[in-house]
């Protein structure tokens, strides 16, 4: 029997980093407050003490420089894991991620790999307002050459982060501040979660609900209400945004013939838009109703908790979309 441990997502991420640092001495951590301060969200707690200042590097507040530095180090033999205190700060370093990390393997004729992981909290937290709440997946998943992962729980966070660190490509690993404390039983023994595979969280036949990240938890509560009424909704957690596991999604939609997409980020040119289009490409003849999407409304994130709750996808809006697709 597999030995299990109960950990929160924060600890699961820390274990992934720790195990991969043990596995290869070329894995280094860098970012703002990752060393002395033990991480702004304590993900890297104890890492400086254990691995030393050569491998756990506190950077100044210079996202563009330390992101590019990580990319240069990745091209020359190291495997950097770069923490963004918030993925919203990655915008300062967007040129390095987009023009360099995403393109160097291709444009160097396959000469230089860029084995680097960028990780940190993505999307909304609790009332952190307009400039700290943006979901970045639709921005970065747009670019060929980047891998974008968005785990929703401790098990996937650990297994996917370990896969990300071993992957020879640049990976953006999107976490959620509000989920760092969520507890879960995970194996004590080492395991990996493969990149590019979605997970069917709950099987069902009435409708396919596709989401990722923090919205998985919200959707689980919604489908529970339907289950009580005898309606079985199939819930898919993307886990990997790009590469996208359209096979798992299409298989489900061909079975249920109905689909609702839920995304914490914005609607326009978002992940749901992309998936909706791909469903049209793969499942057009199988759809019994138009696809619906529930996303953040087209506003910056307001500070007031009343407004914040209204702009984000919430159980009421998700249920409304489900009912519409079910013709109820």
């Amino acid at each position: 029997m597999t030995e299990m441990q109960t950990v929160d997502t924060r600890e699961a991420i820390r274990q992934a980093l720790d195990e991969e640092m043990e596995r290869s001495s070329n894995v280094i951590l860098l970012g703002e407050e990752v060393a002395d301060y033990n991480g702004a969200y304590k993900i890297t707690k104890g890492m400086l003490n254990k691995w030393g200042a050569d491998r756990v590097l506190d950077t100044p507040i210079s996202e563009a420089a330390f992101t590019g530095m990580g990319i240069g180090a990745a091209m020359t033999g190291l495997i950097p894991v770069v923490e963004f205190m918030s993925f919203n700060f990655s915008f300062v370093a967007a040129d390095q991620i987009i023009s360099n990390a995403a393109k160097l393997f291709y444009m160097s004729g396959g000469r230089f790999s860029v084995p680097i992981v960028f990780r940190g909290p993505n999307g909304a937290a609790a009332q952190v307002s307009c400039q700290h709440s943006h979901c970045v997946e639709a921005i970065y998943a747009h670019f060929p050459g980047l891998i974008v992962l968005a785990p929703s729980n401790a098990y996937d966070s650990k297994g996917l982060l370990k896969s990300a660190i071993r992957n020879p490509n640049p990976v953006l690993f999107l976490e959620n501040e509000l989920c760092y404390g969520d507890k879960m039983e995970i194996p004590t023994e080492e395991y990996l979660v493969p990149i590019g595979q979605a997970k069917v969280v709950q099987e069902g036949d009435a409708l396919t609900l596709v989401t990722h990240g923090r919205m998985v938890d919200v959707c689980e509560k919604v489908i529970e209400e339907y289950r009580k009424k005898g309606i079985q909704i199939e819930l898919i957690d993307l886990r990997s945004i790009r590469p996208l596991d359209i096979t798992t999604i299409a298989k489900s939609v061909r079975k249920t013939n109905r689909c609702v997409l839920v995304e914490e980020g914005h609607a326009f040119a978002g992940i749901a838009s992309e998936i909706g289009f791909q469903i049209m490409e793969h499942c057009f003849d199988f759809l019994d109703a138009p696809i619906e999407r529930v996303t953040q409304k087209e506003t910056p994130m307001p500070y007031s908790k009343v407004l914040e709750a209204k702009t984000l996808p919430n159980p009421e809006r998700i249920a409304f979309a489900i009912n519409k697709v079910l013709n109820r």
Binding site: A65, G68, G72, G77, M107, F112, G145, P168
Partner: protein, 361 residues
């Protein structure tokens, strides 16, 4: 050569006073003298002829590539290094290939100096399958085993170079350094200062070579950069050693890079270099450089690094006009041959279009 360190800032300000207008640019730089005759004798005929040949190859390669561009065989952006050859030629020879190298999009010469063959390079410019980057990079994105790229976004290569320096330090490769070539225009980018700050904080063995060719596209340096002299001010601000190099003279550049090598190998700290130079062409091939006067350009051309070295070597008895012409012809033939090679090379098979977007595990 002019060496300035933060300890002796005072007596340097005078000698490094820099041109504020095109009119007085000609006479603005004063570099400390060095014993040219002694350097020529020490380097010897074979070495100096080899350096001359490298510069001739770079010059002829770019001149021929320009023609190929005009004929429509090369597309996109094309930035010639013509006029600036002495800097990278001296640098690569003094330090050796086995370092990390990053450059801006003006990167043909560096690729050649680091061992990319003219054929491979010309094939890349022609967009052929056997090009340096399989026809994916073009003129601005050239690579070698040790060249991390020509980078197309101004100053985009600067943090990459400090990352390579971080690897060197972490992996304890004590005989290597990371070179970052950038233009004066890149000094206006924020990421440059962030990177110098990090390199200085962490003692990263990174050498920043600011090649001040006086123009950021069509904007004169004094209209874009408030620092004057650039290298000295930055070095002082970050408590680093700085050097000014006469990039219009190979021997002077060589002498400077030798001193710099001695210093960096001993101290393993970043160094700021401002190499004063002139590009003979416009910013890119599509820029006729109408912002420069004819007199100015003529004055610049008279300072040609090739002519300077030729005269020095003739003076030393290492060269005569005929042998120079023969070397120039030889370089021209290599360049022409590379064009023939590129013309005869296969186009990329569209079937490979989507290869290498991601590396397979």
């Amino acid at each position: 050569m002019m060496v300035y360190t933060h300890e002796k800032e005072g007596n340097l300000k005078k000698s490094l006073s820099r041109a504020m207008t095109e009119k007085n640019k000609e006479k603005s730089y004063q570099f400390d003298s060095f014993n040219k005759g002694e350097l020529i004798q020490r380097l010897g005929k074979e070495k100096l002829i080899s350096l001359l040949k490298q510069m001739l190859l770079s010059r002829n390669f770019e001149v021929r590539a320009e023609s190929a561009y005009q004929q429509g065989n090369i597309g996109g952006f094309f930035h010639a290094y013509i006029g600036q050859e002495a800097i990278q030629t001296a640098c690569v020879d003094v330090f050796g290939v086995e370092n990390w190298w990053s450059a801006s999009y003006r990167c043909h010469a560096l690729a050649l100096l680091l061992g990319v063959t003219p054929n491979e390079l010309m094939s890349e410019l022609f967009g052929r399958a056997n090009g340096n980057a399989k026809g994916r990079g073009g003129s601005m994105h050239l690579f070698s085993e040790r060249m991390l790229g020509g980078f197309g976004i101004v100053a985009g290569q600067v943090p990459i170079a400090i990352g390579a320096a971080l690897s060197i330090k972490y992996l304890k490769k004590e005989d290597e350094v990371s070179f970052c070539f950038l233009g004066d225009g890149a000094v206006a980018q924020g990421v440059f200062y962030e990177s110098v700050n990090l390199a200085a904080l962490w003692d990263l063995p990174c050498i920043f070579v600011i090649e001040n060719n006086q123009w950021g596209m069509g904007t004169a340096v004094n209209r874009a950069i408030a620092l004057d002299p650039i290298g000295e001010k930055i070095a002082n601000a970050f408590n680093l050693d700085g050097y000014a190099i006469n990039g219009m003279d190979l021997l002077s550049s060589y002498y400077s890079f030798e001193k710099i090598k001695e210093k960096v190998m001993k101290e393993r700290k970043p160094i700021i270099i401002e190499a004063h130079t002139e590009r003979f062409r416009g910013h890119s091939i599509s820029d006729p450089a109408l912002y420069r006067s004819k007199e100015n350009l003529k004055g610049i051309m008279n300072k040609d690094v090739l002519i300077n070295l030729k005269e020095d070597l003739i003076g030393a008895g290492f060269l005569d006009e005929d042998s120079y012409k023969a070397m120039d012809k030889e370089a021209r033939e290599i360049a022409i041959e590379s064009i023939k090679h590129a013309e005869a090379s296969p186009w990329p098979d569209p079937i490979v279009l989507e290869e290498d977007v991601l590396e397979e595990e």
